[in-house]
């Protein structure tokens, strides 16, 4: 019987308490224990960014974070992005401009893109491409993703 750790955390503003083992990743706990399967597993080695979430405001790969490290932390995932039935502008633009195809990379890209626009509401195309360098997409290529982010940024700026 492995030692279990008692974790208290908030995910998307909701309080959670759970038990985990030391080697369980935040990604595993989100998907398999908390049933928040919007966060995707791509590579599980930090290369693809599909599992991107925010932990205490820092953008991380949840496959590279142990759940035990997040005791007391504030976690934000894709499930918290829409406001009820109202999609975030990034989500809407990804739908309108086909920024998503198979959808595995999309939650991670949306989380990463939101983090970018919070820091920089008017990024250049180059800035968007470098910011999203850690998020791999194998379907659309990147142009539609970049255009979706640019369109959402314009809307959010009211431009």
């Amino acid at each position: 019987m492995s030692k279990k750790y008692h974790i208290t955390t908030t995910v998307n503003g909701d309080d959670y308490e759970y038990l985990c083992e030391a080697q369980q990743t935040l990604l595993d706990v989100l998907r398999d224990e908390l049933m928040l399967a919007g966060t995707k597993e791509g590579c599980a080695t930090g290369d693809c960014g599909a599992c991107t979430v925010m932990v205490d405001g820092t953008m991380v790969c949840s496959c590279l974070v142990l759940a035990v490290e997040t005791d007391g932390a504030k976690v934000d995932t894709i499930e918290g992005m829409a406001n009820g039935n109202e999609l975030h502008p990034l989500q809407r633009k990804f739908l309108e401009l086909n920024g998503s195809q198979c959808g595995i990379c999309t939650p991670g890209i949306l989380i990463a893109a939101r983090a970018l626009l919070e820091r920089n509401p008017d990024p250049t195309e180059t800035e968007i491409r470098y910011w999203l360098a850690g998020n791999l997409c194998r379907c659309t290529g990147y142009d539609k993703i970049i255009r979706s982010v640019q369109a959402a940024a314009r809307e959010m700026r009211g431009a």
Partner: protein
């Protein structure tokens, strides 16, 4: 596998945990290497000592005209430090090339060094900068130049109960500059085929009075090359000196063949990249 996780709040407590470990223990900072190695069963620690709750390991402070960087400070925090960026742009260029923004949200220079990769991007510029690691263990504190820490791929000179607490980057002399460049097929999310860190100081007339050159990914450890430094010192970093530097850099390489490049290719690229990096460091020095 039963893994015990501890997150001590003092260095003394962390050292005591490591010293008292009955099985394999691993220090956890950003975890961007350690967690992958655990997931892929490359390592099977029975104890993880998370050092991120130790305040001094998470700070960047001014000290004696230089900087002390906590070993567990995430890369994104280092990149956001304006005074550090001005004094040591080469060190920051190395940090900036570690993984993605997600990875740099966690990855630290202490971890980048202790992972022991000869291709670690922050290590050549730290060595070129003359960075000194402060190491704490059961037997006390020692101050060690960064180049003495890696001893082979995945191996360091640290004892099992020792932790790197911080790195000291010294005060800058006038007209000093540093740079780091790496060669990779892609611009982001790649591992260096060759990396070069150059740090140099000019006198008022523009003659190089001091230089340190470190070569990454061309030997079992990152190399500090005296021959490369000697090619620059006493020169105006002109074409003749740069050719000597390139020859010295190529001669210093002891690379392997792998999927990223052959030995011959790495040896050639090391010379070209050493020149380019020295020119970049020169531009920085002239403006400072």
């Amino acid at each position: 596998m039963d893994v015990r996780y501890e997150a001590p709040e003092t260095l003394q407590a962390a050292v005591a945990l490591l010293a008292g470990a009955t099985g394999p223990a691993k220090i956890l900072a950003g975890g961007t290497d350690v967690i992958v190695q655990m997931e892929t069963d490359l390592i099977e620690p029975s104890l993880l000592v998370d050092i991120k709750k130790i305040p001094e390991l998470r700070q960047i402070a001014f000290e004696n005209g230089g900087f002390r960087i906590g070993a567990a400070v995430p890369g994104m925090d280092i990149m956001g430090h304006k005074a550090l960026a001005k004094a040591w742009p080469g060190v920051l260029d190395g940090v900036k090339l570690i993984g993605s923004i997600q990875v740099r949200g966690r990855a630290s220079i202490g971890g980048n060094l202790c992972n022991g990769s000869p291709a670690a991007d922050s290590v050549p510029p730290l060595i070129a900068a003359g960075a000194i690691a402060r190491i704490i263990g059961s037997k006390g504190t020692r101050e060690v130049p960064v180049e003495q820490i890696p001893v082979g791929p995945g191996k360091t000179s640290l004892a099992s109960d020792e932790i790197i607490a911080s790195f000291f980057l010294p005060a800058r002399a006038p007209h000093s500059g540093d740079a780091y460049q790496r060669f990779t097929p892609r611009t982001e999310m790649d591992i260096a085929v060759v990396g070069v860190g150059v740090n140099l100081t000019l006198d008022k007339g523009g003659t190089c009075t001091a230089a340190r050159v470190a070569l990454g990914a061309v030997a079992p450890t990152v190399l500090l090359s005296k021959e490369c430094a000697d090619a620059l010192i006493g020169s105006k970093v002109d074409d003749v000196a740069l050719e000597k530097l390139a020859a010295a850099a190529s001669a210093a390489c002891r690379p392997i063949d792998d999927k990223r490049g052959t030995k011959e290719y790495r040896i050639k690229v090391a010379g070209v990249l050493a020149k380019r990096t020295a020119q970049q460091a020169l531009e920085v020095a002239r403006k400072s």
